[in-house]
Symmetry: C2
Subunit: 170 residues, 2 copies
């Protein structure tokens, strides 16, 4: 895959997995480290991300913070799933825009209240679809998207996380 | 906050929220759109992200894909929570590194199998902590971190997502 220079057409990707179901099974990853303060560096294959916190919550604002990045992942995963499922269902679609927001209460993160979860209490996700088809067709598409969108599934349903801690004496 | 030029020290952030619990309540957001193919642009305040898919699954690999970004968000959120909670608990900590991976089966995304979820079936998260303290102290820290890490909470526990679809005729 690393030497590939043009995208595999989506119908070919789907046909390959249909013929060889094991080709659908992937393990993806990210590595990274804490830099000065709360600033972080992350590597995803050849892509690098800088993650930080706003100055008002102790960071230097060198990048978005992790919960903001989750919202960007949700919005873009929805957008990509709209593109793919519009093709699968034969629905013409010109534009997809998203506005995604989440409510968080730092009383949870800082351990000031035990009855407040540290993550999002709620997410609101607005999708704007532009194209030539009737609204009913786009609502049909939206239902298919929400059943198949990976990040929506990760956020809305529990994912088992196995943790390993390794400590090294300085 | 936009005119602030130095980070608020964390003890001040915590003391302010302790005195005014409502100051802990934030709404954060991301907006964006689909570009050519499955490539996306996302805006988070003044920060921009390019999200795409690898060529092998129909993209141009101009950036990480959404599920990879979720793993980077989880790893960096854990790292930041280690920094913050080490300070809260008075534990000296020199370095935090992470290696985070997730298993995904595209049979779910493409709707080829109904018994396969579209998101991660499992996440494995390895944290490497370096510092002068005994391993037991770092395990105590790790437990506090896992109870207070926002992205771990978002991934491991269900978040309610409210969806609004707006359609516009071309």
């Amino acid at each position: 895959m690393s030497t590939q220079t043009t995208p595999t057409p989506l119908p070919d990707v789907i046909a390959d997995i249909q013929a060889n179901p094991d080709h659908g099974k992937l393990t993806v990853g990210a590595t990274g480290m804490l830099l000065h303060g709360v600033r972080c560096h992350a590597d995803i294959r050849e892509h690098a991300l800088t993650i930080d916190e706003p100055m008002g919550i102790g960071g230097t604002d060198a990048g978005p913070n992790p919960v903001e990045v989750v919202l960007a992942a949700l919005g873009t995963c929805q957008a990509i799933t709209y593109r793919v499922w519009a093709a699968v269902l034969g629905i013409e679609l010109d534009e997809v825009r998203f506005e995604t927001e989440g409510d968080i209460d730092l009383n949870g993160f800082f351990g000031l209240r035990d009855d407040v979860r540290p993550g999002f209490g709620a997410i609101r996700h607005r999708v704007i679809l532009v194209g030539p088809e009737d609204a009913a067709r786009y609502l049909e598409l939206a239902d298919a998207v929400d059943r198949h969108c990976p990040v929506l599934d990760i956020v809305a349903d529990p994912v088992p996380v196995e943790r390993v801690i390794e400590t090294r004496k300085r």
